[in-house]
């Protein structure tokens, strides 16, 4: 390639920008689509309508002179008549291309009016390296006959339509050129060459216009890469360098591999998992630094450490730093750090941080990659959406590509069938299905919900019983996991099949039902835990003490029978008379249940995933598909447990970190036995399903958390005194603080919720701004286009004087 001026490595902008020196070219507008591109396509017909004449070799100079002159002036000759002339020429031609001819004078995209390859005009002379193959052909032609070089000039001349002299001369000139080109190209007997040439012209046309548009864009928005000065810019640059650190793109290689093999939806879910993992890392740093480290610096007198083995039996951890109960400071703390107000403050900080992180991530997705499913509904043009956006360019494996093609095919066929169904099917045959569907919805679904709710209820109420019966402390959470995470979704899928929806609606129904099922199960679980907590408080008030015999179990969950005054880990039996039931440390009980549930749930899910994958691959020899809604809902479920569990154990988020790590690797291993999905999962729908559901879950999580924070503590264990709630403690401290501090804290304190509202409002503003910026861009571009057309084509305004002034604003005329 003789292209010397591209010795640097330019970006797309620069390449197009190098043609800016010929910018007057862009003013070459005409009202109609250029007919030039049709010229080479129909040589036969043109031959009919024009004479042949061989022009000499001075054409080069002529053209140059014409071009120079034309470039130096801004005034444009009247295109209308010439355009009409061309239109007539081509009305006779049979275009081999499928195209709708446009004979209206609508204002179209200005660059579609431009003649092809204007950017190459400056280098149009024979050494123009833009057309190497043409140069080669050109050189051979020059050796043979001087008149043959007319071929290249003809094509080139076709690109520069408007001379400064009269119209007639110019038209004749062009016709002659065209005829000569026609002769030359008909002379070559090679059909393939002709087709190739036709093809090349089409491609170059498209390229040329794309480059002009890109150039126009770069004119509009100056390069973003110029280095700003100032210390703010320095700080931003340092943050950017930090962000480019490979730590934040953890698992980048793995994600890329997954993306290539499975497409964007799956990789987005994995990226969501990675994001939640990093969020939990941040939260656990917060908890460890705020709560756990001060504990180690000055442990309370009740601190007992019985060794590592106790971790797994979940006993003997009562008085350690792992559970809330261990932070039993009473009045030992001196100095400004008190566990009893730091703990609720850390809880509040955790929720606030999570909220800000989620909102920031969603905002970035909306403003960045245009992931605006939260803003625009994708159902406005279903067919166009499938046609233009269904292909996922990120796929790089042949198998995934084949699957995707099949998926698109099936989706399109389904859409066609639906649209025909609406027309054809009579209503009568649908009645039976409607009844069946509503019967299932109305009867079976509530039954399933009620069943799972009852199951969870009893599992929480009788957890001690179950654990002793099955002889392991993890029996109850295991059963709960099996019920909630395995049986529940299975039943949901069966029900949805029975309900017999259309395939596309069926998926949405499955997702909604899974979410509801999980939400109700969690609500029941948390409600039972709250009842436990409350029972603990009531027991210290002297209620709920039933008499019990020496080795019998108490009827209330979490109570133990006091035989001696020093029974139990804490001082519960000091207050109760002997022979009655008293509660254990309820905060610890609840904390233990939640932690065990998190761990068991993760482990069972991982084992099940890998197991199913192996079964499918080796026994059944099929491949399963990864179910994205299940994956997303599982991650959100664990995260909700981490959030609520943090109230009772500062290490809940650390547990979350370990569990998400395990989940990531086990899912990755499972993927080896999966194939890419055939359903078309849109990227934006996936991100709504992941981040959107997480946001909703966080907001819903605040309610049980508020209840926990305002419930009164038993005072047996934990940092909060008897009869007080966390909220009361904090309020006391604020009340006792000095005047300015208390006023400020009260002003700040009560609207922690107000702060969240403010953040949501800011988020809404960001969304609006994104919409506004987009519509602004469109408006700008249109006004610019209209203004230029208005300047260039005086004939139009002469014809319609009253319209001329309004042209820039009359969008209705363009039919948009």
């Amino acid at each position: 390639m003789s292209r010397g001026h591209l010795s640097k490595h330019p970006s797309a902008f620069d390449i197009a920008g190098s043609s800016i020196s010929i910018s007057p070219v862009m003013q070459n507008y005409s009202h109609n689509r250029p007919m030039m591109a049709q010229v080479p396509a129909s040589p036969a017909s043109l031959l009919l309508s024009s004479d042949e004449e061989d022009d000499g070799d001075d054409d080069d100079d002529d053209d140059d002179a014409n071009n120079q002159h034309q470039f130096s002036t801004f005034g444009m000759p009247d295109y209308g008549r010439t355009a009409n002339h061309y239109r007539n020429l081509n009305a006779n031609s049979n275009s081999g291309l499928n195209r709708n001819t446009n004979t209206s004078t609508d204002l179209q995209d200005p660059l579609s009016m431009a003649p092809p390859f204007p950017t190459y005009r400056a280098g149009r002379n024979s050494n123009n390296s833009a057309y190497p193959q043409w140069n080669r052909m050109d050189r051979t032609r020059r050796k043979s006959t001087p008149s043959k070089q007319v071929g290249k000039e003809a094509i080139a001349a076709v690109q520069s339509p408007m001379p400064s002299s009269s119209q007639q001369e110019h038209e004749q000139f062009l016709e002659e050129r065209r005829a000569a080109a026609v002769v030359h190209y008909l002379a070559t007997d090679d059909k393939d060459m002709e087709a190739l040439y036709k093809r090349r012209v089409q491609v170059e046309y498209a390229i040329g216009r794309a480059k002009e548009r890109v150039a126009q864009l770069s004119l509009k928005s100056p390069s973003k890469k110029h280095h700003k000065k100032g210390c703010m810019a320095n700080i931003m640059r340092r943050i950017q360098i930090l962000k480019d650190n490979p730590f934040w793109s953890l698992w980048g290689e793995e994600l890329k591999e997954i993306e290539g093999n499975f497409g964007s939806a799956v990789v987005l879910t994995f990226a969501f998992l990675r994001w939640v993992f990093l969020l939990n890392v941040g939260l656990s740093i917060l908890w460890i630094s705020a709560i756990v480290i001060p504990f180690f610096l000055s442990p309370p007198s009740s601190f007992q450490w019985t060794g590592i083995k106790q971790y797994f039996q979940a006993n003997g951890l009562e008085k350690t730093w792992i559970l809330l109960g261990g932070y039993f400071y009473k009045s030992e703390q001196t100095g400004w750090y008190r566990a009893d107000y730091m703990y609720p403050c850390t809880i509040a900080a955790m929720y606030l941080t999570s909220l800000i992180a989620i909102l920031a991530k969603i905002a970035k997705r909306i403003m960045g990659s245009g992931d605006s499913a939260l803003v625009y509904t994708p159902d406005t043009f279903p067919y166009a959406t499938v046609v233009f956006t269904a292909w996922d360019f990120r796929i790089s494996s042949l198998e995934a590509a084949t699957k995707l093609r099949r998926g698109i095919r099936m989706q399109l066929r389904e859409m066609l069938a639906d649209s025909m169904l609406i027309v054809k099917t009579p209503k009568a045959t649908n009645n039976y299905e409607y009844y069946k569907r509503y019967a299932v919805l109305g009867l079976l679904w509530p039954m399933v919900m009620a069943g799972t709710i009852t199951g969870v209820y009893y599992l929480v109420s009788k957890s001690d019983l179950i654990n002793t019966k099955l002889k392991t402390a993890y029996a109850q959470p295991a059963l709960m996991t099996i019920l909630v995470s395995i049986i529940g979704p299975f039943l949901v899928r069966i029900l949805v099949k029975l309900e017999d929806w259309k395939p596309s609606t069926a998926e949405k129904v499955v997702i909604i039902k899974l979410f509801f099922l999980r939400a109700t199960n969690l609500t029941t679980f948390l409600y039972r835990l709250y009842v436990l907590l409350h029972n603990g408080y009531l027991s210290t008030q002297g209620l709920l003490s039933d008499p019990c015999l020496a080795n019998s179990k108490c009827s209330h969950e979490g109570f133990l029978c006091c035989n001696t005054a020093s029974d139990g880990e804490w001082s519960t039996c000091l207050r109760q008379p002997i022979g009655y039931c008293a509660s254990k440390c309820m905060e610890n009980e609840v904390g233990k249940q939640i932690l065990k549930l998190i761990i068991t749930s993760t482990v069972i899910n991982c084992i099940l995933d890998i197991g199913m994958g192996l079964i499918f691959k080796f026994l059944l020899n099929e491949e399963q598909e990864l179910s994205i809604p299940d994956f997303a809902i599982d991650v959100v479920y664990i995260q909700v447990l981490v959030w609520t569990g943090s109230h009772f154990s500062p290490l809940a988020s650390t547990t979350g970190v370990l569990c998400f790590l395990l989940t990531f690797y086990s899912k990755k291993i499972t993927l080896k036995t999966c194939t890419s999905t055939q359903k078309l999962y849109s990227a934006s729908r996936t991100s709504v399903m992941t981040y959107g559901v997480l946001l909703v879950a966080l907001v819903l999580c605040i309610f049980p958390e508020a209840v926990f924070v305002t419930s009164q503590s038993s005072g047996i264990c934990g940092p909060i005194g008897e009869g007080q709630s966390m909220y009361d403690t904090v309020a006391n401290y604020i009340g006792r603080a000095g005047y300015p501090l208390s006023a400020v804290l009260e002003w700040l304190g009560s609207p922690v919720i107000l702060g969240a509202i403010i953040i949501l409002l800011v988020f809404g503003v960001v969304l609006q701004r994104a919409k506004l910026v987009q519509s602004n861009q469109v408006l700008e571009m249109r006004i610019k286009e209209h203004a230029l057309d208005h300047v260039i084509v005086p004939s139009a305004s002469r014809r319609h004087p009253h319209d001329g002034g309004n042209e820039a604003f009359d969008f209705g005329q363009t039919g948009r």
Partner: protein, 175 residues
């Protein structure tokens, strides 16, 4: 870069064209890489960025191509190139023929898209969509986005695609 990820066999193929002194990647070489084979629009993309329609890319043009598809590129630039990509017959509008060909490329069931100089020709496949189905699909698309049936100009295309949230996310190729 791409060369490093290909197998040694493919690497030698790519290097042979380079050692022929032209310092270009031809589509014949690069079309053997599975990542390129997986993309039905690959040939069209190579055609576009090769600036003369031959599908041969020098390093600069290759960079241009990667730049247009990268994540940092503004969405406007991507829309420009997407329009150029869909405008198979180069007439400045996306007409029914263009859409038909594009859908055909995306839904054919054959093994591999052979580049053809006779563009707008049906891709050979066993179980791809019929001609009538293609016609119906094109008709629906035009009903939705272009009721006057004039073909989509760049502005129409841009206006529609900015409302489709997935387009920018999917229109991305990386090494």
């Amino acid at each position: 870069m791409l060369e490093q990820r290909t197998s040694p066999n493919q690497k030698s193929c790519a290097s042979t064209s380079m050692t022929k002194g032209r310092d270009e990647l031809t589509f014949g070489d690069i079309g053997r890489i599975s990542e390129v084979k997986a993309n039905p629009f690959a040939h069209r993309i190579f055609e576009l960025f090769s600036e003369d329609g031959s599908g041969n890319l020098s390093f600069d043009k290759f960079l241009n191509m990667m730049d247009a598809f990268s994540d940092d590129t503004p969405s406007e630039v991507k829309l420009v190139w997407a329009f150029a990509m869909w405008d198979f017959d180069g007439d400045g509008i996306i007409g029914s023929g263009d859409i038909k060909h594009g859908v055909d490329l995306m839904t054919h069931s054959g093994p591999l898209v052979q580049p053809s100089i006779h563009m707008l020709q049906r891709v050979p496949s066993n179980a791809g969509l019929d001609a009538e189905e293609l016609d119906l699909i094109v008709k629906h698309v035009f009903q939705e986005v272009d009721p006057d049936c004039e073909g989509l100009s760049y502005f129409d295309f841009r206006r529609i695609l900015t409302r489709m949230p997935d387009f920018l996310h999917n229109f991305h190729i990386s090494i």
